[in-house]
Symmetry: C2
Amino acid sequence: MSAASTADVPVRPIAIIGGTGPAGMGLALRWARAGETIIIGSRDPLRAQQAAAAVLLKAGPQAKISGTENATACAAADILMLTVPFEGQASLLKQLKPAMTPGSILIDATVPLAAGVGGRASRTLGVWQGSAAEQAAEIVPEEVSVVAAFHNLSAELLYGDLPLDCDVIVCSDDPDAAQLTSDLAKKIPGVRAIFGGKLENARIVEQITALLIGLNFRHKGHAGIRITGLPPGAYR
Amino acid sequence: MSAASTADVPVRPIAIIGGTGPAGMGLALRWARAGETIIIGSRDPLRAQQAAAAVLLKAGPQAKISGTENATACAAADILMLTVPFEGQASLLKQLKPAMTPGSILIDATVPLAAGVGGRASRTLGVWQGSAAEQAAEIVPEEVSVVAAFHNLSAELLYGDLPLDCDVIVCSDDPDAAQLTSDLAKKIPGVRAIFGGKLENARIVEQITALLIGLNFRHKGHAGIRITGLPPGAYR
């Protein structure tokens, strides 16, 4: 590292693809508050700008946040956070593939809820590849690392002001991408990141979201999970 | 309820079927300490008696615990706790079916780990019925209620002296059986019970164990889970 001032550290924006929903706006808010540069992407650039304006209002005028069309957001960043419903995931990724910079990291929070095909949000669909994240990995260019994370955070709590009470389990075949994702998770107050192993383990983490949705229906809450019993070094 | 002394309350023993492994002995220990009457079952009655003697030594002489052959244990109790490896579950249940009293509750903690067929303990097998618990429900007599619970407790911590730091997610189609199971879960220090909905949801809870096993391998711990964000009434 050089002795340069912080102004010389290159800005590495985070593009939140399909980021106008509650989860996308919640992550945008928390990371904008932590000083990250955020680009909210949407199919509709106007909706992206409106979402960015709403987050800016909550995060304060110092927040670095903009909104644009998904492919433009994708091309402008090498950290891509995907927050779309499962039924839109594959087609969106195929469409964005040419806009992805080699060396990018795609963080996937997609959960294959049966609600996407008219079923229940407390049930999941079987994904041929094993998980939505592994489906994503099959679609994106080889030079893009896929990380599965952020499935189990309550979108409503994320887009609020209080610290969360939830751990983020991070799965990836690329340790560096997992570490970067863990660092981003830790920027959300109350969140701890735990490396959950290879991307294939995303199939379990994705299922947990359906369980939490069922618990929320049944008990009227905003359920999250904490992993207990690991040594302090396991929580990155 | 009558005004009779506690001596008149009928004893309702818990048979721990296949209970000579660490999970079975751990549950036996915790419930014996809580004053429950425990019958450890095993294919080999001598092994069952040895396990009961070992638990008695840890629990203290006031503990009500015995050991016998699985079918005898099954016939002597209407609360049946099943703690066997997945690869032995179906055949054992078929064998025990005639010994089950109508109205019994079978609490199943089976996890379909791939280790059972030579794979990894951090991976699971697909079960045609959706989960090991639903497989159990298909085998037992109709008059036996199946509950899925206790998958995610560390066997090593259970068979110890410290309070646990873990929630038990209880899934069943029979609310009364779920309540009884929750009451038993709460008798383990540090454990909270949460109703997780129908038995079909066991498929998710069972998978979580494989994730926790992976975390234990990776981070050298005794991982458990806590569910956060639910109102106090959700924790039974």
